[in-house]
Symmetry: C2
Subunit: 513 residues, 2 copies
């Protein structure tokens, strides 16, 4: 057994059965070994940012890691922007980066690259497998590291000779240590805040906005009158009719400050203190008021679900009935395209168990409100501010959940970053409906120009226009094998969206807004 075979064998034994890949010569033995380990599914991507974003989406929906396969330093760097997002999403992910054979590494070759330095900032675990015999064991450790709470990126560098040499051995994943529970004093302090303080918010981080923890949080809210909040950049929320409603902290600094101004206390569970996305010359970085006590009940590497359960127990919230979102859809609107109208169409038509990927930036700000009472669904957003994650996330989510319809709400500017994802969606015949909001500008930046106190001139404004020439998304999608239409009215949009949800293949709808 060569190192590559031991690697894929260890991955599949450890539950890693999907590889989003863009291999090159140094990874060719991994590719060749795919035929000898049937359990591993290889999914080619035409750009590495698609691979890393898809692995993130897969992990968000399954809770378990996929792996990437990347070609030396350049392949890694192309993946980094979405690894940055995955890092912030706190998902498990195995990042496999091929390297030159060890005997070849010290030559001055075109592809010589300092992979370890480039990978370190986003890797919770990082190692180069320095012989075929070590590959399996290193991979097993990588899986354990990626799955350790709260979930992280484990980067395994694979020199080509470690892949092609004999002597590989499949290894078992070592035990994954349980996340520690916050101590009693912290639970007690949080409970005290909730009973003594007037207006309290629970900010729920990764892993706590789904399933059992969300229900428990809803019980605590019902018992204490606390409000459930999600960070603006959340990983995944289960929402819709029948689920405890949450409020998302706003992106716009002034709005977020206003939103959080009334709280006497905010209790953070696996979430960071609310701060502005960007610093501003005349605005504070911290979004909470001075009077607000911000208390971290559980840090990201701690057991937030356990902390919630312990808090509920201490508050005797176990028999409380959480307030659940009632079912309520907007009327299906008609007429001219407006942002509110588009949101209402989505709210009226979103099918049960849909997975919504939202990178619609300025155009989609009404989407969450319009879908609050839609049938139960999941909502995933950009966690790290690195645009170009939407369509890759959709690929990963659709691979993870082939039976569920995926709706990808995508801004044109962000979409152009990783449009190659459409090809993978077509190739794998994924059930994704992509909606492109074509405002033909980096509209958010126009707002920032004004907010920054600048009086923008024509050159500045021209840098933020992406409508000269207009981008034709129907042509782009068709060019990659995705069936696409352009919606000129809300009726068009409703018709195309319904068709997309009903389709088993990927579709795309462009809307000029």
């Amino acid at each position: 057994m060569n190192g590559a075979e031991s690697l894929i064998g260890t991955l599949t034994r450890g539950g890693v059965t999907v590889c989003f890949m863009n291999p090159g010569t140094s990874e060719i033995h991994f590719v060749a070994a795919l035929d000898r380990v049937p359990a591993m599914r290889g999914i080619p991507c035409l750009f590495e940012g698609v691979a890393s974003g898809a692995a993130d989406g897969y992990a968000r929906m399954t809770g378990k890691p996929a792996c990437t396969l990347l070609h030396l330093g350049p392949g890694l760097t192309n993946a980094l922007a979405n690894l940055h997002n995955a890092c912030r999403a706190r998902v498990p992910l195995i990042n496999i980066v091929g390297d030159h054979a060890r005997f070849h590494r010290h030559y001055e070759t075109p592809l010589a690259s300092d992979i370890a330095t480039l990978a370190r900032p986003h890797s919770a675990w990082l190692r180069s497998a320095e012989s075929a015999a070590e590959v399996g064991r290193d991979c097993a450790e990588a899986i354990a590291a990626a799955r350790a709470a709260p979930g992280g990126i484990a980067t395994l560098i694979l020199p080509a000779d470690s892949a092609w040499s004999d002597g590989g051995a499949i290894a078992d994943v070592p035990p994954i240590p349980a996340a520690p529970l916050p101590d009693e004093a912290r639970i007690a302090h949080a409970a005290g805040l909730m009973t003594r303080r007037g207006h309290v918010g629970l900010v729920l981080g990764t892993g706590l906005t789904v399933g059992g923890p969300l229900i428990i949080a809803g019980q605590i809210a019902a018992k204490t009158g606390a409000k459930l909040l999600a960070p603006f950049a959340f990983t995944r929320i289960e929402r819709g009719a029948g689920r405890p409603p949450m409020e998302r902290i706003a992106y716009v600094t002034d709005q977020a400050i206003e939103q959080l101004s009334g709280y006497d206390a905010l209790i953070l569970l696996n979430a960071s203190p609310p701060v502005a996305f960007f610093g501003h010359p005349r605005k504070p970085s911290v979004l909470t008021a001075e009077k607000t006590e911000v208390f971290t009940l559980s840090a990201p590497q701690e057991d937030g679900a356990g902390a919630l359960a312990a808090l509920a127990e201490r508050l005797h919230a176990g028999d409380a009935t959480p307030a659940l979102q009632p079912q309520a859809r907007p009327q299906l609107p008609t007429g001219e395209i407006t942002l509110n109208g588009l949101a209402a169409v989505v709210g009226a038509l979103l099918p049960e168990s849909a997975i919504v990927i939202d990178e619609s930036i300025t155009s989609g700000r009404g989407m969450m409100a319009a879908t609050a009472g839609a049938p139960p669904h999941d909502w995933l957003v950009n966690t790290g501010g690195s645009i170009g994650i939407g369509m890759p996330l959709a690929v990963g989510a659709a691979v993870a959940c082939p039976e569920r319809p995926v709706l990808c709400l995508e801004a044109d500017g962000s979409g152009m970053y990783t449009l190659q994802a459409l090809w993978t969606a077509a190739r794998e015949n994924l059930r994704i409906t992509t909606v492109i909001f074509a405002n033909r500008a980096y509209a958010i930046l126009k707002g920032e120009l004004v907010s920054a106190g600048e009086n923008p001139g024509p050159k500045a404004l021209d840098m933020l226009e992406i409508g000269r020439p207009d981008i034709d998304w129907v042509a782009l999608a068709s060019g990659m094998g995705v069936s696409a239409t352009k919606a000129a009215t809300l009726e068009d949009f409703a018709r195309d969206l319904a068709r997309g949800f009903a389709s088993c293949s990927p579709t795309l709808i462009e809307i000029v807004v």
Copy 2:
């Protein structure tokens, strides 16, 4: 004057007048300042890899740096793959990366990123401008560092508050130290090799394959019988009728070993010793024979042009007449598409002073032979093995030389990496004819599978296919505003190519090969 204004003022005073950019909020004051410094041209790119590749192309054609403008760590990482190539091309380039305001950096925000660590591997110079007052001086030093021999990437990190605060001052670029000349003993040794040894090759690195140095190298060759060689991954070659002919060292390891086997000595000028692109289980990394003396006359940071001149003087080659490539075009072929036929069409039609960007990988291997006797032109290739540089390089070359026709020979797999470059070409109305060789596969990797001794199965081969679904490049180009056609015969190709060369706007020709 704020820091952003002092930055643009210092850039333009230092001769940096083009900025390939994809800004975000933290760079918005740079964008706003563009209207107050008319000499700076901003060119928006829809993906940062386009910006960095374009800056490389601009530098290759002008010898002077352009700058990029990138959005924090994620923007930088998207640019890194083509910065890797630029680093290997040894071109000057100012890489400007916005960062959070300093007071905002220590918060846990979505876009917090370790920019310095990510930039270090490719940066010859790296600094964060920690106040508005320092921005101008730091920028001036960056320009000097980028322009110091042999040319490199200077990364200036620009915290948002250093950009928006008052107190900026435009600075003058400090004197750039001259590259040191190799000492007399080395010149003498090289001259001795050339007179005593039988078969000698001069391997010419960056800067020596154009202009005066190339002529001098040709004189030395004429005087001594030495052969002129270019590394496989060269930065730019002036070639065609009337220029000293050079031979490119082959990509395929066995071919390169055979090609270099007869040399008694190789003299390297600003070039690295020839080694294989990748290591191989049963092939050597070093391409030269044991009998061949490999002598470095000038290292990349040394004065290679001066070394060539000194060598010519010592050899009394100054009055030698270099052998020049005679004009000779292939007959314009007709009929079915073949790789040789396509190369012959290019050879028959390439206009004088064309700039050819060649990232055609396996499909274009006959192109250099077929154009050897075409009217004088420039040839640029991928220097770092990071695919996706072709179309961005073409953008940069066309911005640098608006009067010259640019021909971009692009493989479909590589082209998909940075296809967003087509939009910038359309927006800036650049004179680029792009030819896509659509073999619908990572064909080079299929060869590597066999060369690696693997017996590929269906899953492995399927990972290297990019033709399921077929990519329609005419649709993709049209979707970004570039006029495109599909050529089904050599006559079609000849017609479309001639039309492209005659056009003042970008065009694209897809050929299924």
